[in-house]
Each structure stands twice: as structure tokens, then as C-alpha cells.
Symmetry: C2
Subunit: 277 residues, 2 copies
Amino acid sequence: MELWYTENQNDDLRFSCRVTRTLHVEKTPFQHLAVLETPCFGRVLVLDGIVQTTVWDEFMYHEMIAHVPLNTHPRPEKVLIIGGGDGGTAREVVRHPKVKSAVMVEIDERVIAVSRQYLPELSQGLDDPKLELRIEDGIEYVTKHPGEYDVILIDSPDPIGPAKGLFGRQFYEGVAAALKEDGLFVAQTESPLFNADLIAEIYRNLREIFPIVRLYLTYVPTYPGGMWSFTLASKKYDPLEVKPEDIPPLSYRYYNAEIHRAAFALPQFLQEILRRA
Amino acid sequence: MELWYTENQNDDLRFSCRVTRTLHVEKTPFQHLAVLETPCFGRVLVLDGIVQTTVWDEFMYHEMIAHVPLNTHPRPEKVLIIGGGDGGTAREVVRHPKVKSAVMVEIDERVIAVSRQYLPELSQGLDDPKLELRIEDGIEYVTKHPGEYDVILIDSPDPIGPAKGLFGRQFYEGVAAALKEDGLFVAQTESPLFNADLIAEIYRNLREIFPIVRLYLTYVPTYPGGMWSFTLASKKYDPLEVKPEDIPPLSYRYYNAEIHRAAFALPQFLQEILRRA
């Protein structure tokens, strides 16, 4: 018997990988959740029919969502993670030497439980004593914690279902209020190739709230097109002013001082999208 | 009726896109050749069942294979293109203001003819008076033209079938001999994710022939994993010493001065592959 996972990236585009075994499938109160074992990518976490992360390429996404903002802030002591139920972002945050405490707010406790069971490479950071886990709505959480955080990371799925509000202007105003007066935040902001309008809208909204807004890119081979964007918005510190000596010598697989800088070099077509935003 | 193109990227991984119309299919003396009309990518050129280029994302590949080496050389007056039958690389070469003449050596004249007919966006450069087209084997051509070229571009398909020799040490020695004493060349060198051994072997071979060897990356969404590599080998000029003012102000869609520099920033895992090479 041949078993294949097929993802409809849009109506006209599909991505399929062979499946060795279906490790877990359930319908949580928030979404459809599955973990597959595959020969190409190792274990794969799928939410609502979309690959969230794979053991094979998760390091590219998780190192880039965490270390770029953490190293932009000179004292990233108190960190908030919204979403990120698989634990990959938390793993990167807690190993940063300057981070003293982190709160992770995930709406769906089943993602955490399943990740603990099947994805230990990602979920290992969830038991770190620096980390406090809270099962609640991130949108509500930020409104109740004004002025508390140095760095906030928004590690959300695509802007459909429960994550839709995490891409809206009102949420970003809440995030700005939850940051200290020199705080900064980053959000995963989808594909520049397939979601250019969304990226432009987010950029426009954030430019009205924060003095410094910069987009950066990373390769994520299992996401549509392989090119993925993050948007960093900051009250004071500029990610382009980070020096190689500001970067702690951790063992990285993707990130390094040159990549930190290079990630902000945008292709001409994307510069033009932002110029028109 | 639904029509889909499916590419087996490897035994366990497939990529499919809807097809509106099959514009052309033939078996040439060298390979299977097709042009498909698709809603996602516009027209797609397929050789031996592998996407070579699409009207949607070809600019990323063609601007990066051409302008990075051309701008690294202070006088890229005489240029040789090996392969590149679709015409996209030639289009970028002939519009560079410092290029005085270019020779393009393609082994399969059917690729050129079909590209002229169905892919005018790519093949438009093939009629430029600066360009001389030759239908012959690039491997033989270089051995007959010692010391002639400033810049050589190897725009080949994957290293199977007629293109296999274009990735070998003997060919690279021929290329070195065909370059002037301050010449440089670039080759497309496949995916760092799926072809790391090949990249390491090419790097090792070129380091024994050229004093300067550097890998750089670009996004190509329709290639496996979306991350693609080029290897630049040079007798004298270093691509990292190019200054923004060295770059002619053409209208680019991907390339610009920041991208030129950023493309050479390699993820940690790839730096380690090259260090062990």
C-alpha cells in the first residue's frame, strides 16, 4: 500500500510526500491536528491540512523567528511567545543566554500535548524552568499585560480560523501596549510570492504604530514556494545595527551573523511591494 | 477534465500543478521536451520530466546567474553561455551595458526553436545583435577556444543525460583554460538541501583550479525546496568586493546591490558542508 500526504497549496498547486505511518489524527476544539511519519521530512505536524513544521527543516523557521529579534534587543530578558504550540520557538528562546523568563500563550493545549508526545526535538524546550506555559487566547492575553515585555514573538499558523485575529491592526496595537517602552516584536507574515497583499497591509498598519518596521526572509522548503517572511516592528532598536559581537556563540544550524544581516536584503519585487504599501 | 503536471522530485516527494493546455511535446535527439500552460506559473518549460523554468519565477534564476558574475568582472566584454536554450540567461547578458559580444552554445536546437515559439519573454534576447548562437556541445567548444572569455556562464539542467559532463572536473579545467587570465565563471550547482554531496565535490574540484571560489544562493520557488545554489570561480576578482556603484542601474525584478552581497551569506549548515568539502 502506498500512503501519500497531499496539500493543496492553492486551487492549482499541490505538494505531496510519501507517508510511512500516520502517528496521530484528531479534531481538537480549534482545528484538525495530525502527525505523520515521512521518509523525506521525518515527522510532520499538520494543522487543518497545512504543514506547520517538519523535523527536517524546522530549524530554519525557528532559529530565524527567535534569534533575529532576540539579538536586536540588547536585554531581551522578558519574552512572550504567542502560538508556537510545537515548542520549536520556545526551544530557541530559552537557550538564549540573555533571556531570564518567557511566557508562551497557546490557545490549543492539544498541539502542545501531541508535540510533547511525537516531536521531542521541538517540544524539549517546553519543560525549561525559564518557561511558563499558559493555555489561553493570545489576543486577550496581551490586553491584560501592558508594558511587560522586552520581546514578543508571534508564531501563528496561516490567517484563517483561530489565527485570523493575530494578523489584524487591533492585535498589533495590543502587542505594542504589552511591550516596554524600548520593546520590539516579530510575527511570521506568510509568503511574499502568494500573500503579497497581506504583507503590504501588515507593513502599512505597523508603520503607523512603530517607528522601525523591517521585513526579513528565510528559506522554509516545506512552505509554498520556499520563501517565507517575518515582519519585525520595534520601538527603539534597529535589527540592521546588530554587530557580529552582539550574537551569542550558540550552536546554530541556519542562523549566523551574516545571515542576520542578509535576511533583510529584499528582492527588488518585494521592495516595490513595500514601497507601494 | 482536469489536467495536472506531476513531477517526482524524488521517490518520496511530488509537486503538481494544474495544466490549462499542453502547448508542445516532442522527443528531441537529446531529451523529452514540453511546454505547458498553467494557471499558477504561466508557461512552463519541462525537460525530461523536470521543470526547467517558468514565466512566473524565471527572473529570480536568470538575473542571479547573469548579473552576479557580470558585475564581479570590471570589464565583462566577451561572454560565453553554455546551455540556457530557453534564452533567459542570454536576455540578461545582452542587456548588460558592458557586454560587447556573447556566444551561446546550446547542444539542442529544438529547445531554442520551441522557446522562440512559446516563451517570447525568455527568448527575446536570442535575436540581439550582440549574441552569436552556436548549436554544438559546450564541452567540446571550450577546449577549442583557449584564453578567449572574460565571463563564462554554465546554465545547465540537472547532472543527468547530456548535462552530466558539465559538472565534472575535466570540464571545469576546460572552462578555466577558455577564460582570460583575469576571467571568472559561474555554474548553477543544484540544491543545497537535496544535492549537498555534489555541491561539496564541485567546490573541492574548483578550489584546486581557481584561487577564488564562492557559493551563492537564490530562491527559485519551482525548484525542489525553493533554495538554489550557484558556484562562482574566479582567477582574480572577488564578488564580495563589488560596490553598489559598480552595479548598472538596469530595471531588475530580483537582483539589486543588497541582494548581490546577501546571496553570499550562507546558512550555518551549508558553511559546514563547504568546510568539510
